[in-house]
Subunit: 461 residues, 2 copies
């Protein structure tokens, strides 16, 4: 073995840092009971102060970005007992945060299905200028009849939704790039406001959408916003591989995450891109406390009201009968032996593993075995270990973190997890650049990336 070669590989490995994003939703946190927790302002749902403070916490922790999901419609499932999941309006939230932070990236979901492309283009570009180059657009298609009904429609077929999405993104990137880099001169002396020959119409028309342009907004410090995508279907691989610099992912195991990450990287290569230009970022949910017991008790407080339905669901996952009246007992030897983890729910094996560790049924649930992403319930070291393992296994370029309760859960992550990652050389000590593009190592871009443009999707009129 050539030792000099090994040394180079090691140093490369150490140099690569993971990305961390903060999930910013309804202002309370990701757990349904967050709004009722002691110390939580019950009006955080409508509080922009709360969102700003939470984003500032993430910036203190040097997170590369905050991420605001959106889903206009299916938000009122159990309004009697639970807060809706999302922001009142993602763009207004990010505007407030942009004014009161300096470095952290600002990423919001915007539907390619139920928006006029020109409106999306100008609003994200304006945010990009406002934040001095920190905006990212999570470009997703909308699904769900509940959402469509709010727009007086039905949901288009998957083919139509993704066909439109390809066009909308191309159109918007073209609008973003309709001013060349140095088009805006604003020279008071000569009286030249802009170089008109460097501001051109885009004249694009596709099957679903079209626009003449140009947009009236000059480039930001990063040129134009970055594209994110969320999803894991072959359609998602294709759309993200073509346009995205980052993917908001969801995976429960290293194996699944690695397969997803590779699928996105391969799709990027098919479009002639360097696969390192697309970062795969799965989710991680956290309840951080000084020890496992304290964290479990916190999590019990947050989710106890859901235990009846969750016991029923856990029964499905494990294939054994469970008794809601025996929450304070571990699963019996017979139950554990009879358990057959469901192959249809990727969380089932992990749930059985936790049950076999001998935890009370109440604590098995409190480990978050039924949630949207892997869950850490314990001291910061456990989160750091999880993140390191996934990162080093090639399963993730970073993570988006959902704190259980935003009011103190973000600070807990920043204070208890980030320093460990930094000490291990896995996370940057501070922001090196000022723009989201710099934070992600994404290449400069003005207009449509010529490598991915395709006249078959959107044609010149």
């Amino acid at each position: 073995m050539d030792l000099s070669q090994e040394k180079i590989e090691n140093s490369t490995k150490v140099d690569k840092k993971m990305l961390i994003g903060l999930h910013l939703g309804n202002g309370y946190g990701s757990q349904p009971g967050a709004w009722r927790m002691p110390g939580v302002d019950p009006t955080s749902y409508t509080s922009f102060d709360a969102r700003v403070k939470q984003a500032q916490s993430a910036e203190r922790g040097k997170f590369q970005f905050i991420f605001l999901p959106d889903g206009p419609g299916a938000m009122l499932a159990d309004i009697e007992n639970e807060a809706p999941s999302f922001n009142l309006d993602v763009m207004l939230t990010l505007a407030a945060v942009a004014r009161e932070t300096k470095r952290i990236g600002l990423v919001a979901t915007g539907s390619t299905t139920f928006n006029e492309p020109y409106n999306l283009a100008r609003q994200f570009k304006a945010l990009d200028v406002m934040s001095h180059g920190r905006a990212g657009w999570n470009a997703v298609t909308s699904s769900g009849e509940a959402v469509a009904a709010n727009y007086g429609r039905t949901i288009p077929s998957s083919e139509e939704r993704y066909g439109r999405a390809h066009e909308v993104i191309q159109l918007i990137q073209a609008l973003w790039g309709s001013w060349e880099k140095d088009a805006w001169v604003h020279d008071q002396e000569s009286g030249q406001f802009a170089k008109s020959e460097q501001i051109l119409p885009i004249n694009l028309k596709g099957k679903y959408v079209g626009s003449r342009g140009p947009l009236y907004i000059p480039p930001s410090e990063q040129g134009q916003p970055i594209i994110f995508h969320a999803g894991g279907s072959p359609n998602a691989h294709e759309l993200a591989g073509r346009f995205a610099n980052a993917v908001i992912g969801a995976a429960f195991t290293i194996e699944d995450a690695r397969a997803q990450r590779n699928a996105f990287r391969e799709a990027a290569e098919r479009y002639g891109r360097n696969p390192d230009e697309i970062k795969y970022i799965p989710g991680l949910m956290t309840t951080i406390a000084k020890d496992r017991r304290t964290a479990l008790d916190r999590r019990i407080q947050l989710t106890e009201h859901l235990f009846p339905q969750r016991v029923a669901y856990l029964q499905q996952m494990l294939g054994v009968r469970l008794d809601i009246n025996r929450l304070n007992e571990p699963l019996s030897k017979e139950q554990l032996e009879a358990a057959r983890p469901s192959p249809f729910d990727p969380r089932s094996r992990h749930a059985l593993k936790i049950a076999k560790e001998g935890w009370r049924l109440r604590d098995v649930l409190a480990h978050g075995v039924i949630d949207y992403h892997p869950v850490i319930v314990g001291p910061g070291m456990e989160a750091a270990n999880h993140m390191q393992a996934w990162f080093e296994a090639g399963a993730a370029d970073g993570f988006w973190i959902s704190a259980d309760v935003n009011a103190d859960g973000i600070d807990a992550f920043v204070d208890e997890v980030v320093p460990i990652l930094q000490e291990r050389g896995l996370f940057h000590q501070d922001y090196a650049g000022k723009t989201l593009r710099e934070h992600l190592g994404a290449p400069e871009q003005y207009g449509i990336d010529p490598r991915v443009s395709s006249p078959s999707k959107v044609s010149v009129v």
Copy 2:
């Protein structure tokens, strides 16, 4: 004559106060040369700091609102020499201003033609919540092929545009009102987040638009945003008379303004409303300085580069030949006698009046005889006199002010005009209420005003 009656009438008259709004456009000011003036930051076009500072000046002057026009598309007429007219994005600007002001109302234009109603509804309602009840929506139809082309369309007929506008406003007001006043309880003790029986779908479907709802946003401190409208056609009278609490007007004479105001008031009455619920607010452009000469010189500096084309246009207005090489001379006796003011341009009589006062041709133009609204070029007293005359003649309930140069023109108005109006009892000394509805004296509203709802326009699905 019954003296007690007269006394009541007088006191009523004195008690009624005018409204003042600030036009906030591209950040430089309303004059094309504003961006080049000394002391003006040439990057104000992209500066949210500049907008916030300007709004704060207006708030210092106790203005009831700021007004942001919008016209997505036809903004780049002479980009080589002039800044576009509008904000990068009106909602992001208002979000920034909302966070950094306390009382002033926040009104933005939003097209009923090129927006999804559900998206408009949630963004304006979110702004209303963010600003604690200070939002207003200037609901207008879009016209102009340049705008339509940015949406890949052509402009619909006037009938279609206004038909859709009626539906869109009804839909949006219904969405805004889909939470009853006390629906959001957020009681941490009991665990009740909201009263689900007070949050209802709207289930509206018209010819052009539809929505199921409900919106997921609770009422603001003023319930829901106020509707503004802009325009002067019979269609505008009808739309505003039905829905609006204020009209952004444009009129060059007291007679025209009074006729417009009456037309809107009569339309409101046709919908069973008190005509005082609709405020007619024409525009006023100002160049305020210590005396007329100083103001004229400032205005010359701002517009001199446009004099060749303006001399040509003034020639059309007056019906006499004018010589661009004789800018420093008044019009001759022969020219003044031959002049026939154009009946097709309502500014022509005023232009001739100024010319007859003996001003040099350069100064005639510097009086702003060719501009979008009446123009005051002189000391604050002249603006106060104009406003008092229009207000007392029943031609206006207030004015929206376009400063020539925002950087110092807003402060000039606040310092030189506002105190005179206050001293004369024509303008309030301070904000009495906290919401835009309170500033305008508009009645409380949750959902569609039952007086104006009409099943013929939007029907229940």
